[in-house]
């Protein structure tokens, strides 16, 4: 009953509805056909998305069932996403090198369970090396932490 297409189509149609509601709530003027306002195109596009989402859901009877979709690697995926989110949070707070060191240590040492020495060496070389190559040599400004490191 729950096929991938039905679920996905339903979600997309829902997104279209949400955008419609937000456009109305934010009070974006619609304007006219001869002078479209800021709200005009979002409304048109969300209606289109709504339409296609509904179409996908309606025609989606023959798609793969949701139960057969494999999520076996979800733990790994969550860990990696968590590491990336941590990077976003910490990058400008503790600086590039520390953030990357933490991420690498986490991913290589904890998630992938590599031996400690390899983790430490890899982490140090990569985070310091990437910083050196881009910040020092190529002058791509990368954030430094509060200590200036």
């Amino acid at each position: 009953m729950w096929t991938t297409d039905r679920v996905a189509g339903g979600v997309l149609a829902l997104v279209g509805l949400v955008v419609l509601e937000e456009t109305w709530r934010l009070g974006l003027p619609l304007g006219t056909l001869h002078n479209p306002g800021p709200g005009y195109t979002p409304v048109v596009l969300s209606l289109i998305l709504l339409g296609f989402g509904a179409a996908v859901a309606a025609l989606g009877g023959g798609a793969q069932g949701m139960r057969t979709v494999e999520w076996t690697e979800w733990r790994h995926a969550v860990a990696i996403l968590g590491a990336c989110a941590f990077a976003a949070l910490a990058l400008e707070r503790i600086g590039f090198r520390l953030t990357m060191a933490v991420i690498l240590a986490f991913l290589v040492g904890v998630v992938e369970r590599k031996p400690l020495l390899l983790t430490a060496v890899f982490t140090a070389v990569f985070s310091l090396g990437a910083f050196f190559l881009f910040d020092t040599m190529l002058r791509v400004p990368l954030p430094r932490g509060p200590l200036g490191f």
Binding site: G31, T32, I94, L98, A105, T119, P146
Partner: protein, 328 residues
């Protein structure tokens, strides 16, 4: 795992101790960052980089330029407004600094930043905009242009770098001073706006002189007047709108250095002196000359007066433009 745990603890300790380490050393003891809120190659950037190089020489301390672009400059400006006022983060702002908070207020938004979150340090240049039209157009003087605009309201089109942007506001000031109404076609930046008039898609453009001087020389564009309060040294035949009887049409694309409010006085004083010396350095003067932008250095009271007057004019202009949607 204990080794990793120890590492994590050490990192946390370092972060905790960090504020203490930001010691009371003599200013400046760390690299200074000048934030340019516009993309590289733009006016702000082209002022910031030579200035940084000159200041580095004067202060004997590294000064770097970081581009934080977005939202017509609002991203970079907000960043500096909310940064720590320790004198290590500065802003190279253009005249849009007065426009953006006003536009925010117009739309009922929480302003991204306000002008009083900044402490002005110095004005670097103040290029008056000039009015250019295509060489093939029938107007040979500014008066003809204004007369024609009065006769055919809303028929003459002009391009700009964006709605409420500097090039738009310049035209707005002229429109309200001369009582004319023109058709506005916004583009995504000064470059596209110039391309548009060169391609014949619009009739007029307000632009900084340096950007269009090549096209004037090659005969593609014709300058009609300038928004400055005196004639340009590079184009002495160009009348000012003041001369033509519209003193309110005064607009400069200026660039100035700002710091967030609250920077301690000793650091501020050092910065002011440094900038005063830096604008005389060949790194800066040479770059400005190559870009054909005259240096207009102002500090202290002089700058404040200029800034306040300019901000007032622009705020009025923005309010007059109103919300575009409501006019139609």
């Amino acid at each position: 795992m204990t080794a990793l745990r120890a590492l994590a603890l050490a990192l946390l300790a370092a972060c905790a101790l960090a504020p203490l380490a930001a010691a009371q050393d003599a200013y400046p003891s760390r690299p200074i960052t000048i934030v340019a809120p516009f993309p590289p190659g733009g006016v702000a950037d082209l002022h910031a980089r030579p200035l940084a190089a000159a200041m580095e020489k004067v202060l004997k301390n590294p000064v770097a330029v970081v581009n934080k672009t977005g939202a017509a400059g609002a991203v970079g400006m907000q960043f500096v407004a909310t940064s720590r006022p320790d004198g290590y983060t500065l802003l190279l702002a253009l005249s849009s600094i007065s426009i953006i908070p006003e536009a925010d207020r117009l739309f009922g938004r929480q302003p991204a930043f306000t002008v009083d979150q900044f402490e002005p340090i110095a004005l670097l240049s103040a290029d008056p905009t000039i009015l250019v039209v295509r060489a093939e157009s029938p107007w040979k003087t500014a008066r003809e242009f204004i007369e024609d605009a009065r006769k055919r309201p809303g028929q003459i089109s002009f391009s700009s770098s964006g709605v409420y942007g500097t090039l738009h506001m310049a035209m707005e000031l002229l429109s309200s001073a001369a009582g004319i109404k023109m058709r506005h076609v916004p583009y995504g930046g000064a470059g596209p706006a110039i391309t548009a008039i060169l391609g014949g898609h619009v009739d007029a453009l307000a632009s900084g002189p340096a950007a269009v001087v090549a096209h004037i020389q090659s005969g593609k564009l014709r300058p009609l007047a300038t928004w400055g309060d005196r004639r340009l040294a590079s184009m002495p035949d160009l009348p000012t709108f003041k001369e033509l009887g519209y003193p309110d049409a005064e607009f400069y694309i200026w660039a100035g250095l700002f710091a967030p409010k609250g920077v301690p006085e000793p650091a501020l004083a050092k910065l002011r002196d440094a900038v005063r010396a830096a604008v005389k350095e060949p790194e800066f003067t040479g770059a400005m000359e190559k870009m054909q932008t005259p240096i207009a250095f102002k500090q202290g009271e002089e700058f404040r007066k200029f800034f306040d007057a300019d901000a007032r004019r622009l705020a009025d202009g923005v309010r007059r433009v109103g919300r575009i949607e409501e006019k139609k």
